[in-house]
């Protein structure tokens, strides 16, 4: 059963990802992206990380998507019938395939450790504990990064306001 | 520094067609708004969707037939429209109207002002986004007053009750009492509207400082009526160029200080209170007996050659009728100075730079009647 679930999710993710890189209409690409990202959330469930899954939905499905779609609508004027892929798409394909080959070779060569007896669900509260005690410094840095991103985005976007 | 921009990048401004069929354009008015995001950067009003030649048709009608058309031109303040028309003819003919008829005319016109302003308050509430409640309250009171009108004149909307030289027929026996009843319900209606809208902070936030006009601007644009008075000009034809029996009645004219949408609303609400006062006084002074039509009127009305301009203070402003006669029973030329049309000219000035939602409010605050604009 879980395997089936995994395959469904994997299919969703890969189909979505392929849609993102292949489809012509940008808005459809965004739709495929959200499909893929929600699939990843499902995968997190499968990996027993409920919290991560919800975070994925909340941040990627909600915030990042709305940003992307707004940006698409801000820039998309008449690009619908333009070529969506650049000239170097064969190059990209070759690079991607080569990378995939390297990965597969690597995985098959490695004997991955597996210790199912130790597996437990990570309690939600524990994550919080760790986040704020052990990882408090990077945590604060994240907040700074967010602040900088906010300020930067505002400056960049507001410039435009001032111009007109 | 900035690279030259390609012209098609400027499409951030989006033209939006509002009307002719739009819930908030008060009829078949159409305006093409150009919005940038939510702000209006340009607006082009289009009128003429209701141009049905009323003026021209009235030139082919004799003076009694024209009354019906005056009704239909200004269909929210029918008595004011009729009054303007018959005043013009009376002045041309030099007819003396009996006192009782004058009083009844004033009473009905002021009651009509109440219904018209009720309609405004209701529609304005809807423009501001209320879910129909204000309209319901307003029409509830309107309905009571309309019942009174119907009892007197026989029709709910197109009364055709004023005649050259007086009134069509005597009022009903219980007229005075019915008027008092109507006033009571009207007062309740004003209170309801007051409670619902006037003091509501959201409503204030939506209305205040929107579409403000200074007194000079208002005069320059030729506004009249509540629009003008809200801008701080105490001009009211009932006071300044009194007609009928208005000089004998004591009432105040409310004048706004800011000239914005909210002031226009307040002015109208206050005018309703004043109208109630006027009707009460008029009912007191009303001669209980007396003729209602001028004597010695010919059966077929004929005017001497000449021209006349009669104006009355309709709920929307100065409603004027300019009449040229070359003798005979029909006007040679008839021109109506419609307050809605003149007030509408200020739309562009008031709307540009406001939010899309405010454009609706500004239009609502003008209280236009489309048939009056296009005639």
């Amino acid at each position: 059963m879980t395997l089936l679930f995994f395959y469904v999710m994997a299919g969703t993710i890969l189909a979505g990802a392929l849609g993102v890189v292949l489809v012509r209409n940008t808005v459809y690409a965004a739709l495929f992206l959200i499909m893929s990202l929600l699939g990843v959330a499902g995968l997190y469930i499968l990996l027993s990380s409920e919290f991560l899954a919800l975070v994925q939905v909340l941040v990627y499905g909600g915030a990042v998507m709305v940003l992307l779609v707004f940006a698409l609508m801000l820039t998309r004027v008449h690009e619908l019938d333009k070529k969506m892929s650049g000239d170097q798409w064969p190059l990209g394909a070759v690079a991607a395939l080569a990378l995939l080959g390297a990965f597969i070779g690597m995985w098959t060569q490695t004997d991955w450790p597996r210790d199912p007896d130790q597996v437990t669900l990570v309690p939600f509260a524990t994550i919080g504990d760790a986040l704020f005690n052990r990882w408090s410094v990077p945590f604060e840095i994240v907040s700074l990064v967010l602040l900088v991103a906010l300020a930067g985005a505002i400056i960049i976007a507001m410039q435009e306001e001032g111009e007109r | 520094m900035v690279a030259e921009q390609r012209p098609d990048l400027e499409t951030i401004d989006m033209p939006i067609n509002m009307g002719p069929q739009h819930p908030s354009t008060h009829g078949v008015f159409r305006m093409v708004l150009v919005v940038s995001g939510e702000k209006v950067v340009d607006v082009t009003p289009h009128i003429g969707y209701m141009h049905r030649g009323g003026e021209k048709l009235m030139e082919t009608m004799d003076f009694r037939q024209g009354i019906g058309y005056a009704d239909r031109t200004e269909y929210l303040a029918q008595f004011s429209a009729e009054l303007g028309y018959v005043l013009a003819v009376e002045r041309l003919m030099g007819v003396e109207v009996p006192e009782r008829a004058e009083y009844i005319r004033v009473i009905l016109t002021e009651l009509n002002r109440l219904t018209s302003h009720f309609m405004f308050a209701g529609a304005f509430g809807i423009d501001s986004g209320l879910f129909g409640t204000s309209m319901m309250f307003a029409f509830r009171e309107r309905e009571f007053i309309q019942d009174l009108f119907e009892e007197i004149s026989g029709d709910r909307l197109m009364y055709a009750y004023f005649r050259v030289g007086g009134l069509a027929w005597e009022v009903t026996d219980n007229f005075v009492q019915r008027c008092h009843e109507s006033l009571k319900t009207a007062e309740r209606g004003i209170r309801d509207i007051d409670d619902l809208l006037t003091h509501n902070e959201i409503f204030m936030g939506r209305c205040q400082n929107i579409g403000a006009f200074t007194a000079q601007q208002a005069i320059a644009y030729g506004l009249s009526g509540p629009m003008l008075r809200a801008s701080g000009v105490p001009f009211d034809l009932r006071k300044d160029e009194p007609y009928s029996v208005y000089p004998r009645l004591k009432f105040d004219i409310p004048v706004g200080n800011y000239g914005d949408v909210y002031d226009r609303f307040l002015v109208r609400i206050e005018e309703m209170r004043q109208s109630v006062k006027i009707v009460e006084q008029a009912l007191e002074q009303l001669p209980p007996e007396g003729p209602i039509v001028a004597e010695k009127l010919p059966r077929r009305l004929r005017t001497p050659p000449g021209e006349v301009y009669a104006k009355v203070e309709s709920p929307r402003g100065e409603w004027g009728v300019y009449l040229i006669s070359k003798g005979g029973d029909k006007p040679y030329r008839l021109k109506m100075r419609s307050p809605s049309f003149c007030n509408l000219t200020a739309l562009r000035e008031m709307t540009i730079g406001q939010f899309l939602a405010d454009a609706v409010m500004v239009l609502g605050s003008m209280d236009i009647v489309l048939c009056d604009v296009d005639r």
Binding site: L47, L67, M84, Q88 | -
Partner: protein, 108 residues
């Protein structure tokens, strides 16, 4: 409990994330629209996250560093998207295009 993980070997997750990553790489290289490039970057980031979580769960579940890391990745990715899209918008305003090929030249 074992049954669950016994069903799905770790390699499954790895292959999946690898494929996702490669699709992302392809997208980054071949797409012309900068926003689509950004989307492809998101795909790659997600591939990495899957890897992280899978390793964390399969190998060292008590440490759950991978999960913490993923949380950070998501946060940083959000910041990155916000900023990068701002840049794209800016470029679009100035150059009238969001195509990476056309803006690759730093001069105008």
């Amino acid at each position: 409990m074992e049954a669950v993980w016994a069903d799905i070997p770790l390699e499954h997750f790895l292959v999946l994330s690898g494929m996702l990553f490669c699709i992302g790489v392809y997208g980054v290289l071949s797409r012309r629209n900068a926003i689509l490039v950004l989307m492809s970057v998101e795909l790659m980031l997600n591939a990495v996250s899957i890897n992280m979580v899978a390793f964390a769960v399969y190998t060292a579940p008590t440490l759950f560093i991978g999960i913490i890391f993923t949380v950070f990745i998501i946060a940083i990715a959000a910041a990155e998207v916000g900023l990068a899209l701002g840049v794209v918008l800016r470029v679009f305003r100035n150059r009238g295009t969001a195509n990476v090929d056309e803006v690759s030249a730093l001069k105008w």
